[in-house]
Structure formats: C-alpha cells, structure tokens
Point group: C2
Chain length 132, copies 2
C-alpha cells in the first residue's frame, strides 16, 4: 500500500479531519489530541514531523514551528475503524502551549477534585514572543 492508498482508506470526519493521538515514545505519556486534514497527514508522512490542522486558525502548520518544540515521528498506528491515528513521537521541549510536557497536566479524581500533576518545562511568554 502506498501513502496515497493509505490516505484513501481512512475515514476523515465531516470536517475533513482525522483525530490523531500523540504519545511520547520514550515515556509512554499521552501528550495531545490533534486533528489532521489530508494535507497535514501527507506532510507528516513525507517529513516525519507532526503537522496539524489548527482548527482555531484554519491553517496547516508544523507542530513546533514557532516554539521549536517539534514532534519527530517514531511509529504510526491505525485504529480498527480507520477513523483515528496514533503517533508515537520524540518530543522536543514540551507539547503543551501553556508550558507543560503534556496537555494532560491536570488530574481529577472521581469526585471532581482537580490538581496539577506535571512540572512546567518552559515559560510560554519567553517562547511565543509573537503570539502563537
């Protein structure tokens, strides 16, 4: 199967996107859930860096293009329904724009009590000097 065939076999949602789980390959930590359109997926396969479709700005971008916190693709998995993907990656810096290694930096118990369980790995105001 070629990348073209693979992309054709996937079920993009009604907005033309496929949700992609990003997991740190070294630690196993889940970092983000991002959304890729066909162009983002194609670039990700070509370059081995995570590209995503930023829904808030409706634009294709390489993850880390502003911050340097790129995600280097190690392994790619397809789910049983061909409607989501899993990428195991090497994370440079932190995945979360708010300064954390993972976007899932807050834990809640089943009573709804929330606490921060990660340490900051960078200071956003120093990294995003021209906004994101």
């Amino acid at each position: 199967m070629s990348v073209d065939d693979l992309i054709k076999s996937l079920n993009f949602n009604d907005k033309g996107l496929i949700p992609s789980i990003i997991q740190d390959d070294a630690t196993g930590k889940v970092l983000t859930l991002c959304y890729m359109n066909e162009a983002a997926l194609r670039k990700t396969f070509e370059e081995g860096r995570i590209y995503l479709f930023r829904r808030s700005r409706s634009m294709l971008m390489m993850k880390g293009s502003t911050s340097g916190h790129v995600q280097i693709v190690k392994k790619i998995y397809i789910d049983c329904a061909e409607n989501s993907l899993l990428f195991r990656i090497e994370q440079k810096g932190g995945a979360c724009h708010a300064g954390w290694f993972t976007c899932y930096y807050r834990e809640t118990d089943r009573a709804g009590k929330v606490k921060v369980v990660e340490k900051k790995v960078f200071e956003p105001s120093k990294v995003y000097t021209q906004g994101r």
Copy 2:
C-alpha cells in the same frame, strides 16, 4: 470542584461529545479513542467504569457490557483546552471489538506499508453472539 462543576468546565463539541483517549494503565498502550456525552461522563465518574456514547447507534453504553471487556478507571486527566480527556484504565480482555487488546493493532511506516503488530486476545464470533 464537584463533578457538576467539572462537567460544566468542559468544552463538548457541536454534537455534545468530548473525545476521550483510553490508555491501559499497566502497559501504557493507547487502546481506543471514544466519545462521551455528558451522561456517559457522569456515569463513568459515578461507577469508575468507562461509559461511552456509541455514535453508530446513538446510545449510551458501558464499554464491555456485551463482551465483559470492561475498562476500570484508574486515573483521569483533563487537557489544557478542556476539550478532551485521558483515562488510564485497567482493561479486561481486549479493547477492540475485532479481538485485539488495542484498536491500534496495525502499524504503518511512512511509505504506507501496513502490518499487524498485535496478537488476537479473543475471537469476536465467540464473544458477540448476539451482535454488538
């Protein structure tokens, strides 16, 4: 914060759903991406078992209610944008309806070459005798 307050703080999508990543707590393997509506989330918090909103059937169900392959909640995380959740769980049997431990049982390389990288943990025809 109570569970009510927590649920109010979340950003459900335009279909009233929040995507939830399910990860096996023991192995770190990502198992599925499921979708919860408010009722499913509330039941998950109350009972400590994953409930989901089956989009194909528009119904609330406990994961594993037919197969016995329930997912016991160990840890719950909230992402930075409050629009996705991560559950670390204990998986009974296999998470994938097709008989695999994880729905991400196929790996692809960057050239689009796909291979199965898991072993079957159950035979679907023996588990789902009355359909899913």
